[in-house]
């Protein structure tokens, strides 16, 4: 079994594009929330989201022609390009058949699907553009990354909604640890779109202008977008080429609530934490920081806290939600969580939960790192990801020793 390390980080986010800007955004507790530009807001009571206004795919991508791909794939491919650059990995020096890609997503090319819906509404089914139809499948996300990097190994899109990046990191970890690949690019991507904004509003779980996880008055999520990618390789491969690993993937856990499509389940989430910790061969007391799923809905945060309390008892490590800054980036969310976790380990700080003001009496004993980042020595991080369909996925990352 090979040890698997993370050597490159590629965030394309509303608080910063590329590792240095993203890291600075986390440290500063920056908010990436702004009024929505990508669709007509007429009639919507809530108008904010975490769009990546600064995203210029043509300035980041080397091989993909942006007009031929949907926005989510462009996020994924740009994130992958940044991750490879951050890893100082010369892809020409890697056996391309032993380099694979696993990307997670919730709604895939949602903006493409919406453009098709508009075409159908205006001029009928037969008027749909074949080019847009070809851009719609979820498989395009991984294939776009493979195309951008010239990777000819496995190219897989995992569509397990909002925990999909953690599934992707887990699968990439297994492929490398069993010797099936030398390098894997793992992460996820999603785009802000009209129907998801409307759907969350209708569910009563969309915040107005700020996402405030773990606050007594939290009112929900803000939809968001972006791409998160990480370079995973064997420790030997990394050391042989002189790379500096951020963290080691210690293990992961997956399970399913099999209970409700949208409501989370505390005992199932607690079971998933135990699975992940067991796989990583660590005890709860080894965890220095929990990068929470922390969506900011009343139900998620309460259920997540209950599960943490069940597993960690009175000794709960600091827990923060980067969704307070980014909004809910859906399929990219746990990928951003993994990137933040790597930075916490190597840079020695805990990202804050911003927009926090009022303690929730039900969450006594919770240190959510309110509003300001904190210096800390971090060796082991638990990165939580939960999703519609009860698809729970938790990844444990550790300092490379």
């Amino acid at each position: 079994m090979n040890r698997v390390v993370i050597t490159g980080l590629g965030p394309v986010s509303s608080i910063g594009i590329g590792k240095p800007a993203f890291c600075e955004g986390l440290r500063a507790g920056r908010s990436g929330i702004s009024p929505i530009r990508c669709f007509d807001l007429t009639g919507f009571p809530h108008v904010c989201a975490g769009e990546v206004h600064q995203f210029r795919p043509e300035s980041l991508l080397r091989r993909l022609t942006p007009s031929a791909w949907g926005r989510s794939t462009l996020f994924a491919a740009a994130a992958a390009r940044l991750a490879v650059q951050d890893a100082r990995l010369d892809t020409d020096q890697v056996d391309s058949g032993r380099m694979g890609v696993v990307m997670g997503t919730t709604c895939g090319e949602s903006q493409v699907a919406e453009a098709l819906a508009a075409e159908i509404l205006k001029h009928g089914f037969e008027s749909q553009s074949p080019e847009l139809l070809q851009q719609a499948p979820g498989s395009r996300l991984a294939h776009g990354v493979s195309e951008e990097l010239g990777a000819t190994g496995e190219s897989l899109t995992i569509s397990t909604a909002c925990s999909a990046s953690n599934y992707a990191i887990g699968y990439a970890f297994d492929c490398i640890s069993h010797g099936e690949a030398d390098v894997m690019i793992a992460g996820g991507a999603d785009s802000v779109c009209r129907w998801v904004h409307a759907g969350f509003f209708r569910l009563g779980t969309l915040a107005k202008d700020a996402c405030s996880p773990f606050d007594r008055n939290r009112s929900g999520i803000l939809t968001a977008e972006g791409g998160a990618a990480l370079v995973l390789e064997t420790l030997d491969h990394a050391l042989a080429r002189g790379a500096r690993p951020y963290a080691e993937v210690l293990g992961y856990g997956l399970n399913c609530d099999a209970d409700h499509m949208v409501a989370p389940n505390a005992s199932s989430i607690a079971a998933c934490m135990r699975l992940a910790q067991g796989r990583a061969r660590i005890q709860p007391s080894d965890v220095d920081y929990i990068c929470a799923h922390g969506t900011g809905t009343p139900s998620n945060d309460s259920v997540e806290f209950q599960a943490i309390r069940t597993v960690f008892g009175e000794a709960i490590p600091p827990v923060s939600s980067i969704k307070s800054m980014l909004g809910h980036t859906m399929g990219a969310a746990s990928g951003f969580g993994a990137i933040a976790s790597c930075l916490a380990i190597t840079e020695g700080f805990l990202p804050p939960t911003i927009n926090w003001s009022t303690p929730d009496p039900e969450m006594e004993g919770l240190d959510m790192i309110p509003n300001q980042a904190r210096r800390a020595e971090v060796r082991i991080v638990q990165n939580n990801g939960f999703a519609f369909g009860g698809n729970n996925a938790i990844v444990i990352l550790g300092e490379v020793v």
Partner: protein, 376 residues
């Protein structure tokens, strides 16, 4: 790769429902009397590109599973849920508190339901207030809805994964499943793939596929139960997936590049299974009947098998263009041959998949004839 032992399966397609439903289409295929689907006018209010298509026109999930928990399901979730339930029943596995944490689902899709996504967007555009969408239908817009719903219905708390692989989805499902069992993340898995027939899928096929004139859109779902310790509870095997390979080639290489990548994937998967070309009895292909599309597969297979081409089974010609469900239907067709003819016990088959944007995949099956009474 550790072989994936299959004990229990089911299939739904335009040809019907259940393990016996592909017997007739396969006979017709052998006789060269293809069927161009069912009359689909009246299935939807929206216009359809063809009057006939490979739809399961009389499918009504409420008749099969009852009304409880089925009213908000979209078509692909309903198809998948029925296939999962029947495969589980066929496997003989009884799900209870003692094993439900260790039984999971791995399901392949193209993008979930384009109809569910589009209907939702449409509501936001035509309603007086754009947020007056139906909250009960919101989960249908997410790609993992079918697997999540099936887990709820059958109480499966193990790993629940949805893979958006398009035409290659089922190859990914096999690889992902093999990894889960190898690493002991699960003891048993329902492995399947699904595609629905809707105006959206039918038009997407019509407008993007060269062969769509001869090959209308179809729909289907097939689910197979694999067990860490061999076949179903009775220990009887339907078959074993000995190896699976997937890969990608940049589209700058064109169709010749995809053919080379497919050839490479097939050679590798045969080598991984320790199978020589002479041992292959059947190939379940992704042929459509369009020379323009089929040249990729033909080139790859000819390079490997030359004039000693094994017998080819072209499920798309029998069941329509079923995209993500295709691979699962290919396996279901092969297992049907074994089920119907015990003399084939132990024979080797190859399953091929490829996509125009550069994805390729292949799997090797050793078919078994488990015998015993059939459930349906």
């Amino acid at each position: 790769m550790i072989p994936l032992a299959i004990g229990g399966w089911s299939v739904l397609s335009s040809a019907g429902i259940g393990r016996k439903s592909l017997v007739e289409p396969l006979k017709r295929g052998e006789a060269g009397t293809l069927d161009y689907g069912r009359k689909v006018d009246g299935l939807y209010q929206e216009p359809l590109p063809t009057a006939t298509a490979h739809a399961l026109v009389d499918f009504d999930v409420r008749q099969i599973l009852g009304r409880k928990g089925t009213s908000a399901l979209d078509r692909r979730s309903a198809l998948a849920m029925v296939a999962c339930g029947q495969a589980l029943e066929d496997s003989g596995i009884h799900v209870d508190d003692s094993n439900q944490q260790r039984i999971g689902i791995v399901l392949g899709t193209t993008l979930g339901s384009l109809k569910s996504m589009n209907d939702y967007t449409r509501e936001t555009l035509v309603e007086e207030r754009p947020y007056l969408v139906n909250p009960l239908l919101f989960p249908n817009t997410v790609m993992n809805c079918a697997a999540g719903q099936a887990a709820i219905r059958y109480g499966l708390k193990g790993v629940n994964a949805t893979l958006a692989g398009g035409d290659l989805a089922f190859m990914h499902v096999l690889r992902y499943s093999a990894n889960l069992l190898r690493c002991s993340y699960a003891d048993a898995l329902l492995m399947g793939a699904v595609e629905e027939f809707t105006p959206h899928s039918a038009w997407a096929t019509r407008l993007t596929k060269a062969a769509s004139a001869e090959l209308p859109a179809g729909e289907g779902a097939a689910v197979f139960v694999t067990h860490q310790n061999g076949g179903g509870n009775d220990g009887k095997l339907d078959g074993e997936i000995l190896s699976v390979t997937t890969g990608f080639t940049p589209c700058t290489e064109g169709s010749a590049g995809i053919a080379r990548a497919l050839e490479h994937a097939i050679r590798r998967t045969l080598a991984d299974a320790n199978i020589s070309t002479a041992d292959v009895t059947f190939i379940a292909t992704a042929e459509t009947g369009s020379a323009e599309e089929d040249c990729v597969e033909k080139q790859a297979l000819t390079a490997i098998f030359g004039s000693q081409m094994p017998h080819r089974i072209a499920v798309k010609k029998l069941l329509g263009e079923c995209h993500a469900a295709t691979g699962a239907l290919q396996l279901a067709a092969l297992l049907t041959l074994h089920q119907e003819n015990p003399d084939l016990n132990g024979r080797i088959s190859l399953i091929c998949s490829w996509m125009p944007d550069g994805g390729v995949g292949a799997a090797v099956l050793r078919g078994r004839s488990r015998g015993g009474p059939d459930h349906r």
